[in-house]
């Protein structure tokens, strides 16, 4: 092993602490309209949201505006955040993703309505398997770090480039088959790493 057990546990705990802290901040915004908590969230997420939106093709100014609008949505919708369902970064990613679809693609984003009376509920046994959201974020971030670089890059492109796999193929100069198989391999590896950590 390249590093000893205790160091990796520390790194693991720090990543989870960050995720848990962010979740608590959102809960403070929801419960108390806590501006200080919002400022901390803004300072952490707004610059990353700007990067996200710029990678998807927005210019610097529009990206900054959209990042700001996404953070305003965070303020408005904080009461809908559920730490058991998703980590703070996942919840905020979803807000930014939907904002981008609405503002840059000028489309609607069909979403599941969680209060839909037609919703077929989870089987009770399946519900037990739900991984605690902040733990999962930590595992995913560690798993991304150990992916081979060319696979990690393809995964990033799948989320951060506004293009189908065929245009990823064009822009990377890779054959389409290679793009698809690299992505499949990367996702399979991520799943394997996540399952290993389950043991």
């Amino acid at each position: 092993m390249p590093f000893d057990r205790s160091m990796s546990d520390t790194a693991k705990n720090e990543a989870e602490l960050d995720a848990r802290t962010m979740g608590i901040l959102i809960e403070r915004v929801a419960a108390d309209r806590d501006r200080d908590a919002f400022v901390l969230l803004f300072r952490h997420f707004a610059p990353r949201l700007k990067s996200y939106l710029m990678r998807l093709g927005a210019g610097a100014e529009p990206a900054e505006e959209l990042a700001q609008e996404a953070m305003i949505m965070v303020w408005r919708k904080a009461h809908t955040f559920d730490a058991a369902q998703a980590s703070a970064s996942t919840w905020i990613f979803r807000i930014a993703r939907n904002k981008r679809i609405d503002a840059l693609r000028r489309e609607s984003r069909p979403e599941l309505d969680a209060s839909d009376p037609m919703l077929v509920p989870e089987q009770p046994e399946e519900a037990d398997k739900v991984v605690e959201a902040t733990q999962e974020e930590g595992r995913l971030r560690r798993a991304l770090k150990v992916l081979p670089p060319e696979q990690a890059e393809i995964v990033r492109l799948a989320y951060f480039e506004d293009q189908a796999h065929s245009s990823i193929a064009d822009s990377t100069g890779l054959p389409l088959g290679t793009v698809k198989s690299r992505l499949r391999l990367a996702l399979a590896r991520l799943r394997t790493v996540l399952q290993e950590e389950d043991l």
């Binding site: 408005r76 037609m118 995913l140």
Partner: protein
């Protein structure tokens, strides 16, 4: 292939926000029926969150935070209430789909495709055909294959073809390699959401004759 799980690539595209509106509508509607698919989507959204955290932060203008705080100060803290979707046809549909159908499914411009089969175009994404399709029990849709990708989501009733049985919530992916002849089974009219990105091509002896005259 008969499935209550969506293909991984489709889940990823939906979670990452790359999927177009018509295909996203199929996914969002399917999720109502399929807890396992919901977990798949959640996992890929979690990957999006992890990737967001790994991004290098960009420089922001010095006053963005102040301006944002000023904006939230100005906001009334009124609860944003989504208006209830009106339903007048007594039909349970996934809420995401009901938004596109309207309060009365019968008020849509249904047209006869053949005896026992009707469809209506919902007009969701340019370049995609997004249809609701109704097939009466016992009716078989002619053999057809597909240029491009087609996704079918069963909303009510069921159909069968060479590959299996498809009931409510099931999705069937089809492309040019699939040449199938779906038959509605059971007692209820089979209602499906069908999204396709290229014109259908009829196969079989009769189908090939009809092809130039059929506009799907």
């Amino acid at each position: 292939m008969s499935s209550v799980r969506l293909p991984e690539e489709m889940v990823l595209a939906y979670a990452s926000g790359q999927l177009n509106e018509a295909m996203s509508l199929v996914v969002a509607s399917h999720l109502v029926y399929a807890p396992e698919s919901r977990r798949d989507v959640a996992r890929y959204e979690a990957l999006g969150g992890a990737l967001l955290e790994e991004l290098e932060p960009s420089e922001m203008h010095g006053d963005v935070l102040e301006r944002t705080l000023a904006l939230i100060d100005d906001e009334e803290d009124a609860e944003i209430v989504e208006p209830e979707l009106e339903v007048r046809d007594g039909l349970a549909l996934p809420a995401s789909l009901r938004r596109y159908v309207g309060p009365d499914i019968e008020a849509l411009a249904w047209r006869k495709v053949m005896k026992g089969v009707q469809d209506v175009e919902l007009g969701v994404s340019p370049g995609c055909r997004t249809r609701l399709m109704r097939i009466e029990p016992g009716v078989t849709v002619p053999r057809h294959s597909h240029r491009g990708a087609e996704v079918t989501l069963v909303l009510r009733g069921a159909y069968e073809d060479e590959t299996g049985h498809y009931g409510p919530g099931a999705v069937q992916m089809a492309d040019e390699n699939v040449d199938h002849q779906p038959s509605a089974v059971g007692e209820e009219t089979c209602l499906c959401l069908v999204v396709r990105d290229a014109p259908i091509r009829l196969s079989g002896r009769i189908g090939k004759l009809l092809n130039p005259f059929i506009r799907y």
